[in-house]
Symmetry: C2
Subunit: 746 residues, 2 copies
Amino acid sequence: MASSSSLTLSQAILSRSTTHPHGSSNPPPPSDHRLSLPTFSLPTFSGLKSSSLPTTASGRRLTSRRRAIRASAAVETLDKTETALVDKSVNTIRFLAIDAVEKANSGHPGLPMGCAPMGHILYDEIMRYNPKNPCWFNRDRFVLSAGHGCMLQYALLHLAGYDSVQEEDLKGFRQWGSKTPGHPENFETPGVEVTTGPLGQGIANAVGLALAERHLAARFNKPDSEIVDHYTYVILGDGCQMEGIANEACSLAGHWGLGKLIAFYDDNHISIDGDTEIAFTECVDTRFEGLGWHVIWVKNGNTGYDEIRAAIKEAKTVTDKPTLIKVTTTIGFGSPNKANSYSVHGSALGAKEVDATRKNLGWPYEPFHVPEDVKKHWSRHVPEGAALEAEWNAKFAEYEKKYKEEAAELKSIISGELPAGWEKALPTYTPESPADATRNLSQQCLNALAKVLPGFLGGSADLASSNMTLLKMFGDFQKNTPEERNLRFGVREHGMGAICNGIAHHTPGIIPYCATFFVFTDYMRAAIRISALSEAGVIYVMTHDSIGLGEDGPTHQPIEHLASFRAMPNVLMLRPADGNETAGAYKVAVLNRKRPSILALSRQKLSHLPGTSVEGVEKGGYTVSDNSSDNKPDVILMGTGSELEIASKAADELRKEGKAVRVVSFVSWELFDEQSDAYKESVLPAAVTARVSIEAGSTFGWAKHIGSKGKAIGIDRFGASAPAGKIYKEFGITAEAVIAAAKSLC
Amino acid sequence: MASSSSLTLSQAILSRSTTHPHGSSNPPPPSDHRLSLPTFSLPTFSGLKSSSLPTTASGRRLTSRRRAIRASAAVETLDKTETALVDKSVNTIRFLAIDAVEKANSGHPGLPMGCAPMGHILYDEIMRYNPKNPCWFNRDRFVLSAGHGCMLQYALLHLAGYDSVQEEDLKGFRQWGSKTPGHPENFETPGVEVTTGPLGQGIANAVGLALAERHLAARFNKPDSEIVDHYTYVILGDGCQMEGIANEACSLAGHWGLGKLIAFYDDNHISIDGDTEIAFTECVDTRFEGLGWHVIWVKNGNTGYDEIRAAIKEAKTVTDKPTLIKVTTTIGFGSPNKANSYSVHGSALGAKEVDATRKNLGWPYEPFHVPEDVKKHWSRHVPEGAALEAEWNAKFAEYEKKYKEEAAELKSIISGELPAGWEKALPTYTPESPADATRNLSQQCLNALAKVLPGFLGGSADLASSNMTLLKMFGDFQKNTPEERNLRFGVREHGMGAICNGIAHHTPGIIPYCATFFVFTDYMRAAIRISALSEAGVIYVMTHDSIGLGEDGPTHQPIEHLASFRAMPNVLMLRPADGNETAGAYKVAVLNRKRPSILALSRQKLSHLPGTSVEGVEKGGYTVSDNSSDNKPDVILMGTGSELEIASKAADELRKEGKAVRVVSFVSWELFDEQSDAYKESVLPAAVTARVSIEAGSTFGWAKHIGSKGKAIGIDRFGASAPAGKIYKEFGITAEAVIAAAKSLC
């Protein structure tokens, strides 16, 4: 981008002439503020008048000018009047946060008070977005990784004109049914990109957002048209920095060279337990240099607006590395008695200190008041945002004319509409198909899907050759090959999950999958929970799903994992038994764009069973074989995954002895729960209490399906190191055990 | 320690004169190796004869000499004969690993082949241990964080003379019932300190082991007697380095200045998916410098014995920082066709390549053969180890004479014997005691226990003031105050859990606790699972245990967590309802030294209920109140934690209406499961099918206790951001709901 300024970067830094020890150069206001407030000519920045902004496609030229102005803002020293309005806007943000937390008597005022300057500069000067269409594809993304400071983001969305955060929403902060929950939640508040709060998730989400942009840009941009072109900004605090997931994700961001990722590290030296000196004395700058980031230090984050602007400008010049801007701030800036202390981190200031802060910052207004000049200043973002989107739409129309095929593909990714008949690409199997591990059958599905789903991409946490997740038609997504679709996450399960959440939330039609051994979902459980909560349809390809993995032993053998995910809301836990069920699991997973799917897949070979089907999988539980009549089997045998074969073998034996046996595949409990009572009764008739379940995992939870009189065969201890067949036998996960249990019941 | 050498460190590095491109300077052996092998004078190193080693306490002088020799080894260039024997020993280790993996046709030969030199030097030249007493208190600790390479450790334990790893154990590698499972497991193999395999856990365990040493040394050492004095060594690989948990733990190790922690980073550039170039290009050295570590690079880890020795010596001189020795090695060193490739990481070499490797390294022996000279050389470790322990015992006897009180306390920590009557320190409550949050009641218990349990210490992941975990009589464990007992983990839940596992495994009488919000067990689940598997009695103090935490919203409100831990083997999941139950939970937790306990504690105030008791908690589930007779209530109401009060209120109402109601507290399902059938029938008579459970969490699993006809009141969705009372009401977690459910059943 061209700059209209002739100042150099260092000049700009040097030219920062006014500092305001308490965040404002205003004189203490007299008691009747309405009469005495200084007035400003509006709008102010660089003389750009919002009223002069066109809202049609013809605005392209002007909007480009605005871009240039924004870029130049970083090196211009605003005049005193303008700086005063920035001060006022920044203080507006601070007091919206203070007042909302005060009213809720709950929340975190400290971060918004300290980060208001960088927040103001980002949303008012730097970022490109359309408040009236928070989903505009080419918007800059912003992530508040330090999610507890969400009042910062709510205040900014409010000022910028998002419909999601009205004054009453600010007043309803943290209350039942409001759009302003206690931490940022994308599914509650349009304008919030992802769900943060659990520390470290947000920065990893941001890496995913930046990855998605880089990938799509590499695939769709043309020399004459950068149709994908946005930045990802993130604010993270000391807490995020301490979390391992942040290091994982940032190591990958450095490796991938995500130059359009710009992270602000709110370096305020305070965490909940007090000064970071008690637990966090590492040199973050050095660590990030080691991770391959460009690092800038803004020493005065409280009032050093130009420093912040210059840092952003510098960050944008570094295109082959992500940038960490360490911004030293004062938590609770402006509070005369609580600033720079942990007491301002997570509690309301209290009426007395709110008053003192109002006095200290020269803020005469009623709670939740946005001064008219601030309001007017921010009001340009609605028309500007519309113009930005219109400009992009026009650009896309041009692109579409020249690059029809690419445009169609990109459109389908943006809309999230799946290509007609995509599911026909999934392979089908017969009982005669050669026995195979479901991890291998999964790879056939992944590769089939990659051919028909333009937004399908993913990878493994350094187990691609074990998880069988490589897409054979694509290369690796790397710094110099970002158009490729195989992601190499390294041994970073937690970062992987959270990065995939970011990817999924970037654009509806991007469908990320990620993989590791099923037992290592323990490492990434917090990210999987965020997938479920934030409605990210990530596909988790989890192989080596039981003691069936054999010799690696109990540290690698999942036991309680199926149960632990069945208990988690909004997760589809799928454990397919063979080829058709694996295909069915993928069909379900792809269709569920607002619910993550976890596929538990075997390492060992399994037979393709008569009676399994995609349609059956879609119902979660279904009859695979049955020799009873009138819905009255003598016994119902239930199994999942690799144990369905064992249940089927046991049924064969029992039938030879004259028993009427039904075999039910319970591939997904959640999907079965969603079926009608009539369907459930057709599979599990209440009158039949002779029920046996078999699953190579914890029996926890099976009581629900087998009833008080049934028997659950499973493993309620840790695994062991030995060949798989041996462990199955020693642990009694055998057809013989099923037969004995069935006979004891019928 | 004094060094008997006059060489300087740099001289020692320069003096490394012999390098062996294929790991051996032996000429290729002729076909009949028994006749033609070079012979060595034995034992060789520095002329120390193992036969001259005393095994009684009088060996102190000689053992001290041996120490000095060991210290000096780092700067001495061994003569050619000695180096040849080291080569031979190193190759023995390599081939024991190769042969065991080959026989099992499963395992990871690459790491042992690459790390054999550092392994040899550690176990043969540096570490102080007693093979015949793997539990000797003052031993050096070794952790193989890259646990997949466990054949390295098994080979070393075998050579060193540990009874746990005999030749038949090596031959039974990864087989059912062997002492040599697929990853190192402390509960299977004496001599293995902790359970590794899941990457990153081991390095964090090592931080815990080093922390324990530093703490005990600070408490018990005297100017005239360093009674606690050992090093903690660890080998970690690229995989461990990528894991976030490793960064968390290493950041803390740097912060705490754990100078006696020496970590070898096996820098072999290969992970499962291939060259680390594809996913791991950060500068690890720089990152560790940022983390406050001393960093040394050994460029030739394959044959640079003196480089390794010099690095260890240098590491020991740096007493205020942990040291990372980056050792560049070749994975699968010696394999002519597979070295330096991922194919040697996790698969047997195959007969052909084993042959080629034998030829390449000049190894003429049969599989599993330990050459006599190598065997003899290592044989000194049994008498030496006995002498070391005897020396220490004598030192302790001296210490005991001078410092009776301290000696008694240290003894009780070493033995793990709890002081008589310790449990009497726990507070008791009556229904008249003021209502309080169980997190506060927990703090009373923690502080009471700290007074009577000498090995009790712990802390929180930056939530001490929310988790209420500070021990008021102690200060913070910090670099300069390591004798204190409040640990400050920062926002590093995963690292915290794994560090506590290390602390717990250091010495039986150290009882660590750690704390965060219950929902963030998701961040540390992998570490909790290792607690359970490795039998580490860590106490997890998990507060904010439900929607009752209120406004922070769904990211912070646990839902599925109780169920997810009830499904995990060997975990005690405890959710106390009031003061007496909290005290009971702590009694259980302290007594269970081989099973971790998780205490789910409320943020909100709860009444002390009539009928709750410590004894009740010990049974897991028990009747709190009952107005029925003959074990035939009309309905049984069950609850846990904060909902027991709601169940009790509902019972009061129902009784007013003439119902015979039993209220059962289900504080720990695991403990209830362990009771006799008769006891269970006395609490939950089979004949009574009218059962209602209430718990502010997932209903998953409750079917087991309420039976097919019962009703479970719970929360099978994510939470919400609002004041606690409001959410309880909106989610129907109320006495009214219990009453309605009960009435529908009886």
